[in-house]
Symmetry: C2
Subunit: 378 residues, 2 copies
């Protein structure tokens, strides 16, 4: 069965190559920009793909919201199954696209959009059919994990590891989406939609790793703790909670064994218990492998069920102890159960604080020109 590929960049080439060896499937036409049709299998007309009766499914790996949304809509409307790695597209238009797929009796799957090679959304979709998912999340951004791991294992500064990540191709020239937590937030949006039929679209709390310093790392390492950027989601009444923040773990935690640019996805089922999935969260072949795996699930369970709707995230019920580093002048805003002074800086462990309260305090301090790093303590 022929699978058309939309986009022929890093992931597209990987999908095309894997399709050449995937039993039951073969690569169909590849959509490229006009003028880029330098091989007979490349076409620049989406109509041609949508109208090709030999095309059974479409793999969308071009990224971005438009024209991806129009193209995927055309493919679904023409009765083609669609698999995609495009998290921005699913976050923005996933519910509508899933409804169109249902109407046309085809599948719309997007495992590769969250966790790359880690089979997270697929397993979450199956588990959520018969088990109550009590929580989900994990290390869903490989760029920041690479940076945190390098800071911690080599004692380097934030700027150094960012440049290193950029040189290795792990971080973009503008790294904001990764280091601010936005990329991880988009992934938890999808995971919540899959597990809870609720796609959170606002009400997030997101703290990235931009404020971490080598001094912070040295201090919490001396306490036996390691930092990871953790994305958390779960049920919250009629809504879901969904937030991103740095978390400190003791060395024995599975999170600390996630090195370099690897990902770790986690969910806890009421019956299954805690399930942890680790692997490569990005890269040509890991991501392509997730796209191709979805092809073998066509006709099976949907990832977005008919009940899926948009909600505002509700993080008010999420409470942690926090590790905080701030200026002495700002320390009075916190109730510390333990504190260390370091020149003009104070480092401390807070009493329990809600996620929105902690993120709001940090926002206030920054608005007033102050600096702060904080991380939940596991």
């Amino acid at each position: 069965m022929k699978v058309a590929v939309l986009g022929f960049g890093t992931v597209g080439v990987g999908v095309y190559e894997m399709l050449e060896n995937a039993p039951g499937f073969e690569p169909g036409p590849v959509l490229v920009r006009p003028g880029k049709e330098d091989r007979p299998f490349k076409v620049s007309s989406m109509e041609q793909i949508a109208n090709d009766p030999e095309v059974f499914a479409v793999a969308e790996v071009m990224g971005g919201i438009e024209p991806a949304n129009s193209y995927v809509s055309m493919a679904l409307a023409a009765g083609k199954h669609v698999v995609t790695s495009n998290k921005a597209l699913v976050a923005a238009h996933g519910i509508e696209l899933a409804a169109l797929a249902r109407e046309k009796g085809v599948s719309f799957l997007f495992s590769a959009a969250c966790g790359g090679g880690v089979p997270f959304l697929h397993n979450l979709a199956i588990a959520s059919e018969s088990d109550a998912i009590l929580s989900l999340g994990g290390i869903l951004n490989g760029t920041t994990n690479f940076m945190l791991d390098a800071m911690q294992s080599e004692g380097k500064d934030y700027g150094d590891v960012l440049r290193q990540a950029q040189a290795l191709g792990y971080a973009e020239a503008d790294p904001t989406a990764d280091v601010s937590g936005l990329d991880a937030l988009r992934k938890i949006m999808l995971a919540c939609a899959v597990a809870y039929d609720k796609l959170p679209v606002e009400g997030f709390c997101s703290e990235g790793i931009e404020s971490i310093t080598a001094g912070d790392v040295a201090h919490f390492r001396s306490l036996g703790l390691s930092c990871r950027l953790i994305t958390s989601g779960g049920p919250a009444g009629d809504s879901v909670y969904a937030y991103v923040e740095p978390v400190l773990f003791p060395a024995s935690a599975p999170e600390c064994s996630v090195l370099k640019n690897f990902n770790m996805a986690k969910y806890c089922g009421q019956n299954a218990g805690s399930i942890v999935l680790m692997g490569q969260g990005a890269g040509r072949y890991p991501t392509a492998s997730a796209v191709v795996r979805d092809l073998y699930g066509l006709g099976g369970m949907p990832m977005l069920r008919p009940a899926c709707r948009k909600v505002a995230a509700d993080n008010s019920g999420c409470v942690h102890d926090y590790y905080v580093r701030c200026a002495k002048a700002d320390a009075a805003r916190f109730s510390f159960r333990e504190r260390w002074e370091d020149g003009d800086l104070v480092r401390g462990l807070t009493e329990a604080l809600s996620v929105p309260a902690m993120h709001a305090l940090a926002g206030q301090i920054r608005k007033e020109g102050g600096g702060i790093f904080f991380a939940a303590v596991e």
Copy 2:
């Protein structure tokens, strides 16, 4: 759709309860031994279940080879899908049962037979369709992981932790199948059949944890290493390799974060890279959750494909450095690159040795009345 349950023990009760809340499914009749029909839904006649047109699928969770094999055959012959948690059954008769299922156009799935709540075989089956699986295995026995973890974290003796595991219900009165590695071997048999269409039935190397002492633990802990009982499988020419042995890991390895009676399954895909799955490998609800998850995969991909055949395992190409503890008199049999003397004992790190060579040397020493502990070093 009604799902009959064969067996109403630990797992059977869990499956029954989960079916009461699994959308699209409901519990059907439960097969119990004659005289145990103390509730209206319990029956003691397999014919009654096989002939019940309302029964869509059968969950076999009674364990053992007979009468499970006869009952599963009857169910498949009657056109019922079968899901099972019974690793002994699949290892002994899986190929024939899968062929019967194909003939009847129904599914025969057994995720719960390997890794309990960890979704190992399901993901392996999907991944192996489109990716070359370079290796597979992991920590597949929770009893021995509990014992090793307790010895290492609490410094206890083997006998103490075995009694503790028995008191907690993690180990049987006769713990041989767990501590000898046989339970883990049965699981790797199934994983090889799923990934490689080859069910290894002989030629195994299996070293359990029966020879480990508190002294061994204290010594390799002083080297910064932790011990796990690891099951390994992979392609070996026309056959597969498949063996179980203790392995020593540095503290940063993901294996060291697998605590208590948890499992960790691992596979490496040529495209997907290394995928690690952790969770509860046994227990009522984790195992039941795997049985019920398989119900949602009915009609999808088979776990044993038509090409699956029995082979003798070939471990000759598997080579490791080993940590060895033996009597001084036996130490001359090894070529050590580093050694420590401890009274009458020698502990050492060997040069590279093949798995069959190491297991044969240990067998020879024991046959002559000597004692030895060995573990591969990662």
